[in-house]
Symmetry: C2
Subunit: 356 residues, 2 copies
């Protein structure tokens, strides 16, 4: 029997296979609305209430680098990425439990700093950290956060539900997280180089980082768009479909289209690129639109609404309409800034943890 | 500033410090009944329903050794230890989400085997695996399971609530898991020795392991006592306090007594030691009562009931009354098999992940 390494089927291939294996257990609960395949699992807890739950694991050297990531920020981000998944269901977060595996030599004060960041974020979002488990780790820090939330059957938004002619909307700006990551990786290389040469830490680098504070903040301290869920509630808007942008716009729009069984056309010139990201991309001689389309980790919301909601949506200064849902047969098309039509399925997809 | 290594304050010391940090977030939810400090976090979701949630992390080289642990068994155990925490609240499990970090070279088939074990256990317990997250791991396999459950305000059992004169009861048998672990560790040493010497695998060892199948099953395939929760429900029994035995009887009884602000006296001769564990302990020249008292990982339920429930409890062939709750001032006392009184606070406590 030949064994297949995970890298051969990739992260999404692995998830598909695991979802098939666990389907029998999921099928025994008739009140389950969505299992694996959305930002959260969803079930109806009673006539008027829907419960959602999500989990995310952050692993050292894969998701973060302690050389460039303050632990307080990391704690905050671990909470925010889960809140973002809850928001993607048009739900509000309630409770979080946290499992960590910590190298035994890590000082208590560092773990405390991580939890201070978590508690701070939890207070901001109005959720409670109520439990967890701790273990030692032979190598590296692992943080797994699981979070519950609630909404109502009427307000629930899934990845499926978008229809042709629906408007495709995105919150905030894109590309900032990738810009920030590039800056931090360069900073790290410089630090290591200086350490090797026994040079003092170069303050000019620090000054340059301050200049790009916004991009670095996007990467280290993303904020879940709970404000948008409040806005939807105030205006009586219920997205026909929604997902958060963690893998990258093209990849996440792909998930939404597949689950909704539709196509999409988006307009590159309308993408809300973070202005600072343009400057950073120029410096790195990279295409900022590539960062905005495939960079990932922006933790903005990508959602669809019927055309009739256009005025309500357009009135919000931090929501941009970037395109329109089409029939499935039309595929996923991008009109680039030169007016050319590009098939998005040919574009580089989101980050794959198991890619070689 | 001097940094303190975690090993200096231990796992419970660390949890205490982290609970203080996250208390502000927990305090913002008035419907929270219990946060950190019980087997599950507990909140009232509506007038007639209580939600519970728990999380456990299993890390390679700390909690399990893939040389002696079949992945199907490991998957099943990862589910069972969480179900055990849910049962300790007198609740029933509903949904689980699973985060794993996997070395990228691990074959897909091994990860599938792990999930087959998880799904099998989930089907047995009637719960649904509904989501998760996957990441690569630089070193070793990490499995974090989070699980929700439900009960009612009337049926909820916490660690606190035991009163002097309540009976102390334990389900099933004790010491089996530690006996199994000793056998497997010896087996591993033999395997490594034979591999070093290029000898063929010795079948006599395997035959000997079969002889002790029950102890090994206790370690590799513990079963959460969901049957006892059904029994309580049928008989109208609500334990005044309950905890599952994961750290070891003395340690877990200590948690229950501290939270209930009471003392306890137990009778060593009444401990339901697994008969096979006695034989194994003799072979290893160890004290089987020590394994039963401090071994841990038996995943039995330890609970207290008022004396009036004695007849109901005594009628169940798999529940043993081992002692009685006392005033706090009387401490935690054990009458050993020779009739001597021993202070349990002086005994070796449960496993500490961060002990040096």
């Amino acid at each position: 029997m030949a064994f297949k390494p995970i890298s051969e089927i990739g992260e999404f291939g692995l998830i598909d296979r695991l979802a098939k294996i666990t389907a029998p257990s999921a099928n025994q609960r008739p009140e389950l609305i969505e299992g694996i395949g959305d930002d959260c699992a969803v079930w109806q807890s009673d006539e008027s209430a829907v419960q959602v739950v999500t989990t995310d694991i952050l692993t050292e050297h894969v998701h973060f680098d302690l050389l460039t990531t303050p632990l307080h920020h990391l704690g905050s981000k671990a909470i925010s990425v889960n809140v973002s998944d809850i928001c993607a269901m048009n739900a509000m977060p309630d409770y979080a439990v946290i499992s960590i595996a910590v190298p035994p030599k890590m000082p208590v004060e560092m773990v405390e700093e991580l939890y201070k960041g978590m508690n701070h974020a939890a207070e901001v979002y109005g959720l409670a950290i109520v439990g967890g488990d701790t273990s030692s780790s032979a190598s590296g820090l692992f943080i797994s956060v699981s979070m519950t939330g609630t909404t109502t059957p009427e307000l629930l938004a899934l990845r499926k539900g978008a229809s042709p002619s629906d408007l495709i909307c995105v919150t905030g700006t894109l590309g900032g997280s990738t810009a920030g990551l590039h800056l931090l990786q360069r900073e790290k290389a410089t630090m290591i180089e200086q350490m090797r040469n026994n040079e003092p830490y170069n303050k000019e680098v620090m000054a340059e980082l301050q200049e790009y504070a916004e991009a670095i903040r996007c990467h280290l301290l993303p904020e879940a768009r709970i404000d948008i869920i409040d806005f939807f509630s105030e205006e009586g808007i219920v997205p026909t479909a929604m997902i958060d942008i963690s893998d990258g716009l093209v990849s996440d729009l792909g998930h939404l289209c597949r689950r909704s069984n539709v196509g999409a056309k988006i307009d590159e010139s309308k993408l809300p690129v973070l202005p600072e990201a343009r400057t950073v991309a120029e410096e790195f001689q990279q295409d900022v639109f590539d960062w905005a389309l495939t960079g990932g980790e922006d933790y903005q919301l990508l959602f669809t609404v019927p055309k009739k909601d256009y005025d309500l949506i357009a009135a919000h200064r931090d929501i941009t309409v970037i395109g329109e849902i089409t029939e499935k047969e039309a595929g996923m098309m991008l009109t680039d800034i030169f007016g050319m039509t590009i098939d998005m399925t040919d574009m580089k997809r989101g980050f794959d943890h198991f890619a070689e």
